[in-house]
């Protein structure tokens, strides 16, 4: 286990992984309780469009992913809150639309290669020092905002209308939450991949919910599960030369199944 840390890329990958574990589990808790789980999948696919654009024009795919995920998040939230369209239908439209667009852009760029593959499933090899810095700074900001307003997000998740009548600016906080989630997803796709980041946001919380605790304890449990699966997943990714996103998600899936079994009613 110690041996893999001799490599600088592994040190970077673990640092990035731990940042992502914290961000994904904490933001994921609000998303799951808000019954918005599909939002993570959709925004991840939108982020893929950003990656494709980045590969096409030769700029940093991380930045273009953030921009496209944000535009997508705001548009979805706007359609949902102002046009009262069915939320799940909007998410489905954006999910498949984004994937189609991403494939076309990537094909035009002639970049349907290993580079895209690493963005789909995550790769610990591709994490640069600059990526870690970007994750640290913007992930840190996202986490601070999330913690600053956690009681508002929690109240809205529990009862949106009562929150509104008690003076919480529900529309503002809904936009803020999807903004934070879009940023976190875009930052995470290097390590976890666009197809798998949704799982890391949703599953730790669902596993934690099986223990039937209050909100504060549920978040801590989700955070613990998330960190454990990132450590186990990245270690096995290194030893078995597998995509890190896939091994992380398998680890968190096992935690979920164990939680389900030991807490069965």
């Amino acid at each position: 286990m110690i041996e893999m840390f001799q490599y600088e890329f592994m040190q970077r990958a673990f640092l990035a992984g731990i940042i992502i574990a914290v961000l994904a589990s904490v933001s994921g808790s609000f998303i799951v309780l808000r019954q918005y789980s599909m939002m993570t999948e959709t925004l991840a696919h939108s982020a893929l469009v950003g990656v494709a654009v980045g590969l096409l024009v030769g700029s940093s795919p991380l930045w273009t992913a953030v921009v496209v995920a944000l535009i997508s998040a705001w548009t979805i939230e706007y359609l949902r809150s102002y046009y009262h369209l069915y939320s799940d239908a909007i998410l489905a439209i954006f999910l498949s639309g984004s994937l189609a667009l991403a494939v076309i852009i990537v094909s035009l760029a002639g970049a349907f290669n290993s580079s895209l593959f690493s963005y789909l499933f995550g790769s610990i090899l591709s994490v640069s020092t600059e990526d870690v810095m970007t994750m640290f700074i913007f992930g840190g900001i996202a986490l601070m905002v999330l913690l600053a307003f956690y009681k508002e997000f929690y109240f809205i998740a529990f009862d949106e209308e009562v929150a509104q009548t008690s003076g919480v600016k529900v529309k503002v906080f809904n936009f803020l939450l999807v903004t934070i989630v879009a940023v976190i997803i875009a930052l995470s796709i290097r390590v976890v991949g666009t197809l798998l980041i949704g799982a890391l946001m949703v599953i730790p919380t669902v596993a934690a919910l099986q223990y039937r605790q209050g909100f504060a304890r549920t978040i801590w449990l989700a955070l613990g599960f998330s960190l454990l699966s990132v450590v186990v997943g990245m270690t096995s990714s290194y030893y078995f030369s597998l995509p890190s996103g896939a091994t992380i998600v398998m680890a968190v899936l096992i935690i979920f199944i164990v939680s389900l079994v030991i807490n069965r009613r």
Partner: protein, 253 residues
């Protein structure tokens, strides 16, 4: 009659949805300290009227003032506690202890990072005591009975120290004994705490002796200032859509 500013001042409220009239020509004043029940047939617009008062829905025309301030400019929402109809039917898997739910009532008053100040803790303890849920504070909301959950939701509304309490059919899914206890509690909140109370109910027989004023909504609004007379009121019977005398007799058996 006092000259204080009415808590709710509604003028000529009109709401149509898809060319169907839901509410028309609603004018209404509710003053501080009043204890008012809102009755009417299903689909008559009771819940809609409450939602309009709370700004959850917009009327086509008319004016609503809260504490003398036009609704769109109103900021002091913590003065109004609201317990919605489905309060007793929360998501049973939601990870929330009773304490966490009641603390939600302080959300708008707490600062950044949700720091709990002493006044927040005191207000929450006081609200839990009033509603007799202190002994349940570590329990998960999903493990409570309907009546207990209802009391927790009211404790949450009370935690912001409101001046008005609005309840939409607070007794849905609550047993008879809890209901009677519950109405005794409402009466106490109104008389001792001087809380203005407005609530929707179907249990007109149970509460007719207590309430100060009865409002009947069936598209339009009718006020009976003496609820004891309400039952023999012919218009009330017509608006309520059932035989009022039957209901009255039932109450006395």
């Amino acid at each position: 009659m006092t000259f204080d500013v009415p808590v709710f001042d509604v003028k000529n409220l009109m709401l149509t949805i898809n060319e169907q009239t839901i509410l028309e020509n609603i004018s209404l004043q509710i003053h501080k300290g009043e204890y008012t029940a809102l009755i009417g047939p299903n689909g008559g617009g009771k819940t809609t009227l409450i939602r309009l008062l709370l700004g959850l829905q917009k009327a086509n025309s008319g004016e609503i003032r809260l504490f003398g301030v036009l609704q769109k400019d109103f900021q002091n929402w913590d003065k109004i506690g609201y317990v919605p109809q489905r309060a007793a039917q929360v998501d049973l898997n939601f990870p929330a202890t009773v304490l966490e739910v009641v603390m939600m009532g302080r959300t708008a008053k707490r600062g950044f990072f949700g720091r709990e100040r002493e006044e927040d803790v005191l207000a929450v303890e006081e609200a839990m005591q009033k509603m007799d849920v202190t002994h349940l504070k570590a329990r998960l909301i999903g493990t409570l009975s309907g009546g207990q959950r209802q009391r927790v939701m009211i404790a949450r509304a009370l935690a912001s120290k409101p001046e008005v309490l609005i309840l939409d059919e607070p007794n849905t899914g609550v047993d008879i004994v809890s209901q009677q206890r519950f109405y005794a509690l409402l009466r106490e909140l109104n008389s001792k705490e001087k809380l203005t109370i407005l609530f929707i109910t179907h249990d007109i027989g149970v509460i007719a002796d207590d309430i100060g004023r009865l409002l009947t909504v069936n598209q339009s609004l009718l006020t009976c200032n003496d609820p004891k007379e309400a039952m023999s009121c012919a218009e009330m019977s017509k608006l309520y859509g059932i035989d009022a005398h039957l209901l009255h007799n039932h109450h006395h058996h």
